[in-house]
């Protein structure tokens, strides 16, 4: 078998046994990236030299009989929202086009420590804001299953590179569905862990009470392998959980007998594509055949998830993105002989000082339209006179949404359902209507609001050959069961082994 077709678990085993050299493995994936990235645009930056050098060191250590790490030789693609000290980190924004972080994100350090090979940084929606990857300042990613369609977002590059066999594993981040939705639309497996399970240090902040990093791979078993390395407490992130990290890969065997899975009838209401509905119902049938019980449950506040999210996330974003001031790092406008009282180009407002003018113009030039829209929405919802009506209200509804989950998990161990209402949509189809784009997060935002984990994996294909995703959600720290149920599904089906046609690869 070619290395590009091996699972992450198999690659790590083959490198350990000396059946595959880390250099040979890295070269295989780097060549695939070089051949395919022109059409997919999944990578913003490829580190051929660094990856091969790192792989050569691992091979030398193994030959010398020295110990090698748990991910030794495994090529990993990292979403460009995670800081890397040796590679620029752009967040797919003109604001950070030339930004060179002075340190590695905790996840990146853990990957390096485990001897994984970082092959490059993946494309995304600017500052992780979007559901189609069309908000990248460096061009959209294309879905490997149909190049005229979006891969989903915001971790679109990470999803597409795994789907196109350019990397066996990628790291994504998920604030409202940004791992699960692109995984679903690209036919791969993506895990958003419990809030705090993976340290956020060095993850460029979007909405800090919602952001979480997770693995994206072909299978649940591969996600389990990577999560073992990236999860764990980090004193550098005060919200990272102080909880031991299970050996996820060793907890996959137990059958699903007796596991109760909730099904929410409202998920199948108007708006859900019939082919997606059919795939999701068939997935429930597979899980039942594997011994699980499926029970209908209610999530009475589900319809308030998206509006709650589109207040809380922009409010937090407007605060987090205040750091881009043109002074410390990031884009700075050309300085003119600005004078106090000079007016903004729209004529509406006078600047207080040349410094304020520099802030406003640098930010106006550096941020793209969606990022500006969210900063504006958040600033408005937090401003005097509106705070209670919008932000405080949303925080209250957030509690009701979390309570829905707490109540549901009294009766079930997992909740299953669709990831997205439709399969991958056409590039450009939703770009003119921000609200239509926000609604693609319908089934995913609530897990972030409640802080719980969720996983998505392929459960079928449409007649036209597009992947259909299935989502499972579990109570906080329920990753062992999420991974076990997904792995069981993947032992009984082969949807996750399907690959896009060679012609588009």
């Amino acid at each position: 078998m070619q290395p590009a077709e091996l699972s992450a678990v198999d690659i790590v085993a083959a490198v350990r046994q000396g059946d595959l050299s880390a250099v040979q493995c890295a070269e295989t994936f780097l060549s695939r990236i070089e051949a395919g990235n022109g059409s997919i645009n999944a990578f913003l930056n490829v580190d051929r030299e660094g990856a091969v050098a790192c792989a050569a060191k691992i091979d030398a250590r193994r030959r010398a009989g020295q110990p090698i790490g748990p991910l030794a030789g495994l090529p990993v693609a990292v979403k460009d929202v995670l800081c890397t000290a040796n590679l620029p980190t752009t967040c797919a924004s003109k604001m950070l086009e030339h930004f060179q972080p002075p340190y590695d994100a905790d996840t990146v350090s853990r990957l390096r420590q485990a001897d994984a090979i970082i092959v490059g940084k993946t494309n995304m929606d600017e500052f992780a804001m979007g559901g189609s990857n069309e908000n990248s300042a460096f061009g959209p990613v294309r879905n490997p299953w149909d190049l005229s369609r979006a891969p989903g977002g915001s971790s679109g590059g990470s999803a597409a590179c795994v789907a196109a066999d350019m990397a066996p594993v990628a790291i994504g981040s998920d604030t409202g569905g940004s791992i699960r939705q692109p995984a679903g639309l690209c036919g791969i497996t993506g895990l958003k862990p419990t809030y705090g399970r993976v340290s956020r240090r060095g993850l460029i902040a979007f909405a800090s009470s919602l952001d979480q990093i997770g693995p994206m791979a072909r299978s649940a078993a591969d996600c389990a392998l990577v999560l073992e390395t990236i999860a764990g407490h980090d004193p550098g992130d005060s919200t990272s959980l102080v909880a031991s990290v299970p050996r996820y890969t060793e907890l996959l065997e137990q059958p699903l007998t007796g596991v109760r899975i909730g099904r929410v009838p409202d998920h199948f209401a108007e708006g859900l594509d019939p082919e997606v509905a059919k795939g999701v119902e068939e997935a429930f049938a597979v899980l039942k055949a594997a011994g699980a019980t499926v029970l209908d449950i209610r999530m009475p506040h589900a319809k308030y998830g998206v509006p709650t999210y589109y207040l809380i996330a922009p409010c937090e974003a407007s605060s987090n993105l205040a750091r881009y001031d043109g002074a410390h790092y990031g884009r700075r406008c050309e300085e003119t002989a600005a004078r106090k009282g000079s007016r903004a180009s729209n004529g509406a407002i006078a600047y207080d000082s040349p410094l304020v003018e520099m802030y406003c113009r640098s930010r106006g030039e550096g941020f793209g339209p969606e990022v500006k829209r969210r900063i504006m929405l958040g600033t408005y919802a937090l401003s005097a006179g509106y705070y209670d009506a919008y932000y405080a209200k949303a925080m209250k509804v957030r509690r009701l949404i979390r309570q829905d989950y707490l109540d549901a998990f009294e009766h079930v161990d997992l909740i299953g359902g669709p990831v997205s209402a439709t399969p991958a949509f056409k590039l450009g189809e939703k770009t003119g209507d921000p609200l239509a784009m926000y609604l693609v997060d319908l089934y995913t935002v609530a897990a972030n609001l409640a802080g719980i984990g969720g996983i998505s994996f392929p459960c079928g294909f449409t007649k036209s050959g597009l992947p259909i995703g299935f989502q499972l959600q579990a109570p906080a720290l329920g990753e062992p069961l999420l991974l076990r149920a997904s792995d069981r599904f993947q032992r009984l089906t082969d949807w996750h082994l399907r690959r896009p046609k060679k012609s588009v690869r």
């Binding site: 004193p235 509006p307 990031g330 600005a338 106090k340 113009r361 106006g364 500006k372």
Partner: protein, 100 residues
Amino acid sequence: MTLSRQDVAKVGMLAKLALSDAELDTMTSELSKIVGFVSLLDELDTTSVEPLAHPLDTQNVFRDDVPAPSLSTAEALQSAPRHDGQYFLVPAVLGESGAA
């Protein structure tokens, strides 16, 4: 819920975002639509509900106040648009003198 162009211009100044004429027009209509959409939450009575700022139970994290290595000046300045080797440089904050 509609926002006026002047409301949006004011929010732009609060957010320190320079918006062109065209952006101000688009933003005025888009923000009005989005604010209308999120107002769906008004149909819920939340008078007795405590706000939830953070999804999981967390507590303050303290550490001993001991010196530890941090970024060097050179590392901290490495991506600064303008600096003099010791400080970040910005335009004058006060006065009429223009760019520093």
